[in-house]
Amino acid sequence: MYAIEIEKLTKVYGKGETAVTAIADATFQIKPGELVAILGPSGSGKTTLLTAIGLINEPTHGKVVIDGATVADGGWLPGIDLKRLRREKLGFIFQAHNLIPFLTALENVMIALEINHLSRSEAKSRATELLGALNLGHRLNNFPSALSGGEAQRVAIARALANKPKVILADEPTAALDTENGKNVMILLKKLALENHSAILVVTHDHRMVEGFDRIFHVDDGRITGEKNNSGGSVNHELG
């Protein structure tokens, strides 16, 4: 079973003459444990693709399947609880880490667990364990403003992993980091993908980081124009 499956995924903004197709007929599958990048220039539709898979942006056409459950087929399926799915199945990592400034590192991770109905003590124990595993055991009670860029991004990763999601979606996770910290984050993501058996989909235009991915999709002007497999192969997509 794939962690992510999309089929002919299309997102059109506006109607009639003003309609803009942000993403057209995107189709791919990502297995659990895979680290996949979507690479493309600004405005190419990467983030629209990510938000559609992240259950934030309703697709106009096409199908989205997360961890075997179909969530969209020409729009969200009726009665689907998007918030619950985002809580339970998805983890998000952002370009600017998006930690809550008034919560400590520990509380930033705990909040994701408490939202998912874990008790306070369970949440604290799991958050402490996760941050310890990411070498942030000494930063538990620091506010985000006191953390370095790399440390803050690791806290954000811990928050994304807190509920053991099947899919982690990352929006430019290395954009705000220097090369060394960016590489460390990529190494960490790859390790986590394998250890947690989670599919990790990263949207980036940071070419410095492409070596670390298992597969790379190139997106241009709303279409997936190519797929590169770091184990060797290269595929040209002729879609749409």
Binding site: T51, R87, F94, F102, E107, N116, E172
Partner: protein
């Protein structure tokens, strides 16, 4: 995890300053309520302390507080003789402003009959007036010491006792002297004025050729006696005997010429509805305006605080947070701000209300009602922020 408390903890300086500002505003609202109640208490202080059933005043007047009223002192004997009246006592009132230590010193002088009633309701220090002349009991608010002398009219008066908080309807502290002294202060002319009057009367009478010298002398003495008399009072108050019918007593006195018997209920109405109604309405309006300002300020604070948290709210939504978590955060902050500001306002007014120049009466019902209003304002004001927060799209968390 309580996000409202966490946010306040992080931004504690801003929160405390905002709460203090709002607290000062609520303190002003509380003081307005206190002044409003104080106006009533002040207006009725003399009426309450006199404990009379009927106030007999000059006919066709609303005296002695709302209008000037002058009646002869000896009418007290006739009033005492009315069936149903247990006791009657003449009273004189006047507002006096003199210079004391280079500053204007204003008070309300009450003259009462030592053998009647209407004197100081209590003596908190010293003693009551015992001598017929030149002794005074001053209200605590006059800040006079026992033994201190004050010049009124032609004589010096010594403070022999201090009474509690009795004030005029205008809020001036009251002082008590004997009726004779009060009449002297109010009506007695100085010696040169008396000499002038006597000369004028003598000349006028002397110009009448028809009068014999003995007649002229007799008339001069009589006219001078009338013009120099101070036996005038502002009111005669009466207490009824147990079981007496107030209406019957009023009707009987009404039949006399030149007098109007006013019941204590009517006197209360004249004072509260007539004299302080406009001030009361003004204060009520001012209070309402201040509450509206408080509501606008709270709404603005909550709204800008929500705008500051747009990214946080979007992130919370993106990671699957329920709306109640976000709504709870905004609502709890608004309520906490209101409750803390109320506490600050209450403490402020509690520490300062006795220092206000006019009486502030902190009524428990008013304070409780204001608390409920503040809570309601906080809830309503937070809707603006909540509405904004609920409109935030999770996608706003993405991007730099």
């Amino acid at each position: 995890m309580n996000l409202a408390i966490r946010d306040i903890r992080y931004h504690r300086g801003r929160f405390i300053l905002t709460s203090i500002g709002l607290g000062l505003l609520l303190g002003v609202v509380m003081s307005m309520g206190g002044i409003y109640r104080g106006l009533f208490a002040d207006a009725l202080a003399v009426i309450d302390s006199t404990r009379a059933d009927i106030w007999v005043v000059q006919q066709n007047t609303n005296g002695p507080f709302a209008e000037s009223s002058r009646i002869p002192e000896d009418i007290k004997y006739r009033i005492k003789a009315v069936p149903g009246v247990a006791e009657a006592s003449p009273l004189s009132f006047q507002t006096i402003q003199i210079d004391r230590s280079g500053k204007p010193f204003r008070f309300f002088l009450i003259g009462y009959d030592l053998n009647g009633f209407g004197g100081p309701p209590e003596i908190v220090a010293g003693r009551g007036v015992r001598q017929k002349h030149y002794e005074m009991v001053a209200a605590k608010a006059m800040k006079m010491a026992i033994g201190e002398k004050i010049r009124l009219g032609l004589h010096d008066y010594t403070v022999v006792g201090i009474t509690g908080k009795v004030v005029s309807s205008g809020g001036d502290p009251a002082a008590y002297v004997t009726l004779a002294d009060a009449q002297d202060i109010q009506f007695k002319k100085d010696n040169s004025a008396i000499r002038n009057d006597r000369e004028r009367i003598g000349e006028n009478l002397g110009a009448i050729q028809a009068l014999a010298p003995a007649q002229t002398k007799y008339l001069k003495q009589n006219i001078a006696g009338i013009t120099e008399s101070t036996h005038t009072v502002n009111t005669v108050v009466a207490r009824l005997a147990p079981g007496a019918n107030l209406q019957e007593v009023q009707e009987r006195i009404s039949r006399w010429n030149h007098f109007r018997p006013i019941s204590v209920e009517e006197q209360t109405k004249i004072l509260t509805k007539g004299m302080i109604e406009k001030a009361r309405m003004q204060l009520g309006l001012f209070r309402a305006i201040l509450l509206v300002i408080s509501a606008v300020i709270i709404a603005l604070i909550i709204y800008t605080s929500t705008l500051d948290k747009i990214k946080v709210i979007a992130t919370l939504k993106l990671i699957g947070s329920q709306n109640r978590v976000i709504v709870g955060m905004i609502l709890q902050q608004s309520l906490l701000m209101g409750v803390i500001a109320y506490g600050i306002g209450y403490l402020l007014i509690l520490m300062t209300y006795e220092k206000f120049p006019r009486r502030i009466v902190l009524d428990a019902f008013d304070l409780q009602a204001l608390f409920v209003i503040v809570v309601a304002i906080c809830i309503i004001s937070s809707f603006v922020g909540i509405r904004k927060a609920l409109k935030v799209e999770p996608a706003e968390a993405l991007g730099g």
